[in-house]
């Protein structure tokens, strides 16, 4: 019986692996991926910069940039943001060939706009 079970069980179970990287990775809702900024909501108070435990965020007049090589996906930036402009997205495939590829830059609207 055990031998039969050993042969039949895989057939009953079927394929459990995914076809990543051909298909996107299987993720649970709520996964903490790369932090993303909504530039329209950002008031540039740099609460995220001081909250980040690894110094992954740089805020300038023109842009908000996140170094994925430093980010540990803790979500401190999103919790610190007074305007809820930051959310942890579902981007988890962030490997890059060069260090510069780890820098994710979000342009900010010019100051005069607001």
């Amino acid at each position: 019986m055990d031998l039969l079970d050993r042969w039949l069980r895989p057939l009953r179970t079927g394929v459990v692996t995914s076809t990543y990287p051909k298909a996107p990775p299987v993720l649970e809702p709520g996964v903490r991926g790369l932090p993303e900024l909504d530039p329209e909501r950002c008031t540039r108070e740099s609460a995220c910069v001081s909250a980040c435990p690894t110094g992954a965020i740089v805020l300038s007049a023109e842009s908000w940039s996140l170094d994925a090589g430093r980010c540990v996906f803790c979500g401190a930036c999103a919790r610190a943001c007074p305007t809820d402009a930051i959310a942890l997205g579902s981007a988890v495939t962030i490997a890059a060939v060069r260090p510069a590829g780890l820098l994710h830059v979000t342009p900010l609207p010019a100051r005069a706009d607001r």
């Binding site: 055990d2 459990v16 809702p29």
Partner: protein, 538 residues
């Protein structure tokens, strides 16, 4: 020589002043009480010359060695100091501090009477330059040959970068000698995706006579790195000491901080911490069972259990956003509540995993070719486990009843009945059995915890942390007891922190279990302990 009477009224959380349980008689006029902020802890100042006799007396009275902490108090006008902590079920924790000289700090080694401290004292010598006189193994442990002589990074005046300078002579492995004895070096680079460690086997034919394990290739100086950091910035580093004991380390750290602050997190937070701790135990145990199967090339078992581990990791991800549970446990509670929808789905998902785990374990237990490899392989005797201070699954598989969830219960475990899982054989089969039974017990604990979750907040602000206060925190992780000692400096910064992980405690046991076995069985023995290198090396 020591009194062994147990005082039934001494419960954790009750500071015992005139302790009638043998402690007072043991310490007599040799120890001067020192104030502590944390409840359930007794602190004493002792002369360093008294340490070995007090340590052996405490050991004989059933106290277990917890850790040894080096301190550099020269900035405060004092010298160095060494602190030794002990615990015993249903007793307060005992901390003995011995002040040492500022110029050439040394004290008589306690490892001769307390072999559990063998590695702790070697580490202390490397990182602080505090010499345990008469230590049976004076070789370097943490700092390998390339570090210059006289460089002790945990001293406050240590240079920030490693200076050039003459180094100590090359590493000399302990080995057996004689006609027909060969040495087989393995590692530090291994086939497969595992961490670095160098194993030097002395063999006759295929039989191991002696194993010298050399670790600390991934020493990153985490204890130095967190010095002077705020609690919030120290935590992300600390909980990544290794990848798989995250909740244990974060909980132990948070526990120490909360004991210093004198505040407990809200009920829902401590219940959810226990949920996360059991989920961490589950995915580790299930994955380790699979790794043990991989250790003998039993692919049916390893692939089925690997799939179950993946499903458990996805449950972790659904609750916390992270498969390995980082960034959730913080001093004061949790960073936020778990999503209600995901939480509601957990019992059903766990039930499916439990059903499949039972089937997989049944299949493995019915495969004679597997059991033949497991039985009588890598025996750790009860005496060895007691002497070496083995913790966790490895200790319980050798007939040593030790589990901080029962012995020093904190948080939700004060009200949970954690079942005893017994085994006495001390071999790979026993460690496999204990893991499997504990995993099944974790499902029951999770059912109980998830059925009785309180509503309410998951964090509460902590009162200010007094500068100079220190405390221990602990958690029973998947590999056993993780202990953290922390002292707060000015501005609520971490002044000194020491992590003694379960893996650190258990590595000497792996080396002790190897002799008498065949070299090709060592990967199996190693996997049956399944220790981390990273949180050992730190």
């Amino acid at each position: 020589m020591a009194e062994t009477a147990v005082n039934p009224s001494a419960i954790p959380g009750t500071p015992v002043r005139s302790s009638p349980d043998g402690l007072a008689g043991l310490l007599r006029d040799r120890a001067r009480p020192r104030p502590t902020v944390a409840t359930g802890e007794l602190a004493f100042d002792v002369d360093s010359t008294e340490l070995p006799s007090i340590a052996s007396g405490l050991g004989a009275a059933g106290w277990r060695f917890v850790m040894l902490v080096g301190l550099d108090d020269r900035r405060a006008g004092a010298g160095f100091a060494v602190e030794v902590a002990f615990e015993r079920p249903a007793s307060p924790i005992v901390r003995l501090r011995a002040p040492l000289a500022a110029d050439t700090p040394s004290y008589p080694s306690i490892a001769r009477v307390l072999p559990a401290a063998l590695w702790d004292e070697r580490e202390l010598k490397d990182l602080f330059g505090i010499v345990p006189e008469g230590h049976p193994d004076p070789r370097r442990l943490v700092l390998h040959d390339a570090y210059p002589r006289g460089f002790h990074p945990l001293r406050h005046d240590a240079p920030a970068t490693i200076p050039d300078g003459p180094t100590d002579r090359h590493y000399v492995p302990f080995a057996a000698h004689g006609e027909g004895v060969f040495e087989v070096p393995v590692g530090p680079i291994h086939a497969g995706v595992i961490e670095p460690g160098h194993f030097r086997f002395s063999v006759v034919g295929e039989v191991v006579l002696y194993l010298d394990a050399r670790l600390f290739f991934t020493h990153r100086g985490i204890e130095k790195l967190v010095e002077g950091r705020s609690i919030a910035r120290a935590l992300p580093i600390l909980e990544r000491s290794c990848g798989v004991c995250t909740v244990a380390h974060a909980t132990a750290f948070s526990h120490a901080i909360e004991r210093i602050a004198g505040a407990d997190p809200p009920a829902r937070a401590i219940q959810l911490r226990a949920v996360l701790a059991e989920l961490e135990r589950l995915y580790n145990h299930v994955g380790d069972l699979g790794n043990i199967c991989a250790g003998i090339g039993f692919n049916v078992g390893s692939s089925q259990l690997g799939w179950l581990k993946e499903r458990l990791l996805r449950i972790n991800e659904s609750l916390t956003g992270h498969r390995y549970l980082t960034g959730v446990v913080v001093p004061g509670g949790l960073v936020g509540d778990v999503p209600a929808a995901a939480l509601g789905a957990v019992p059903g998902r766990l039930a499916e995993v439990e059903r499949d785990l039972r089937a997989a374990v049944h299949l493995i237990n019915r495969t004679e070719a597997v059991l033949d490899r497991f039985r009588s392989t890598g025996v750790l005797t009860r005496t060895m486990a007691l002497d070496l201070g083995t913790v966790g699954v490895a200790a319980r598989a050798s007939g040593v009843e030790i589990d901080l969830r029962r012995d020093q219960p904190t948080g939700a475990y004060t009200r949970l009945e954690v079942p005893r899982v017994e085994s006495v054989a001390g071999d790979v089969a026993a460690r496999f059995h204990v893991r499997a039974q504990e995993a099944l017990a974790s499902f029951e604990l999770l059912k109980q915890l998830l059925g009785e979750l309180d509503a309410g907040p998951v964090s509460a602000p902590l009162p200010p942390l007094p500068a100079g206060a220190s405390a221990l925190g602990w958690a029973e992780g998947p590999r056993g007891a993780s202990w953290i000692w922390v002292r707060i400096g000015p501005d609520e910064q971490v002044e000194r922190l020491h992590l003694r992980s379960a893996s650190f405690a258990n590595w000497p046991s792996v080396a002790a279990a190897a002799p008498g076995n065949l070299v090709p069985d060592f990967p199996l023995i190693n996997k049956s302990f399944e220790l981390c290198y990273a949180c050992t090396d730190r």
